[in-house]
Symmetry: C2
Subunit: 151 residues, 2 copies
């Protein structure tokens, strides 16, 4: 029984490690990848925020272009959080990411869904729709950061 447990654990560890090692040459690449994807997304999201918060004039075309990029970028960072990527380079990612995988994945899925809604809202060309969707998306960023990112 003990051997079976050990074998199962070993197999699970292998499965968890496979995606990261298959996709990234080393943990620091995975960390740089997720930070890069989040930074690019954040820049485009910030431009929508500037319009939603009245710091920049509303331009429907600019909002739509940026929201489309946010929706594409929102799919990417998660592959960079594979097993074994909790260290290897400077990172604000908290260990809970790897001990509370289901919760972390819920946050990731939520952001992806909100960013799709944001892109749809931007397509309507209506600033109020954009503001509402921006707020919901920003809340999903914050919820994940509050739980899983170091201050």
């Amino acid at each position: 029984m003990k051997a079976l447990v050990a074998l199962t654990l070993a197999a699970t560890a292998l499965t968890l490690c496979a995606p990261a090692s298959a996709q990234f040459a080393k943990p620091e690449d995975a960390i740089k990848y997720r930070q890069s994807a989040l930074f690019v997304m954040g820049q485009h999201f910030g431009r929508i925020g500037a319009m939603a918060n009245g710091r920049a004039p509303f331009d429907a075309k600019v909002a739509q272009d940026n929201a489309d990029i946010v929706a594409e970028m929102a799919k990417l960072p998660w592959a960079g959080f594979g097993a074994g990527t909790d260290k290897g380079a400077q990172t604000k990612a908290l260990p809970d990411i790897w001990t509370e995988q289901a919760k972390f994945k819920d946050h990731a899925t939520k952001l992806e869904a909100e960013s799709v809604k944001l892109a749809a809202a931007a397509k309507t060309g209506n600033l109020d729709n954009l503001k509402t969707a921006f707020g919901a998306t920003a809340a999903s960023c914050k919820a994940c950061h509050d739980s899983f990112r170091a201050k």
Copy 2:
């Protein structure tokens, strides 16, 4: 006449500066943005290269997914090379980027076009098509790096 020239130069400088200052809060953000976009693109491009060069087994779906991301990412970095972003953070970008704008833009346009062809090649599900398109895309990366990136 001198005043007109000065005015024209001032106006040109303003126009050149506008995109960068409008999009990025500070030059270091633009530099980090372009480096991030290029890094994300490079990771996905590298996975196609591994298949094209026989270092990884060919998987048509994986090739297609990665090529689609490369084609999207290839549109992004150029906005991060606005006027005034030649310094502000560590960068391998050579000054020639800003003195030979037409040539630099040709390289950017070429990469975008090759990455669209790469995505189309990946969609055929044929490894030989992928190899050919990967080679052409890699050549366009290299040509730009040879001219505009420090060793």
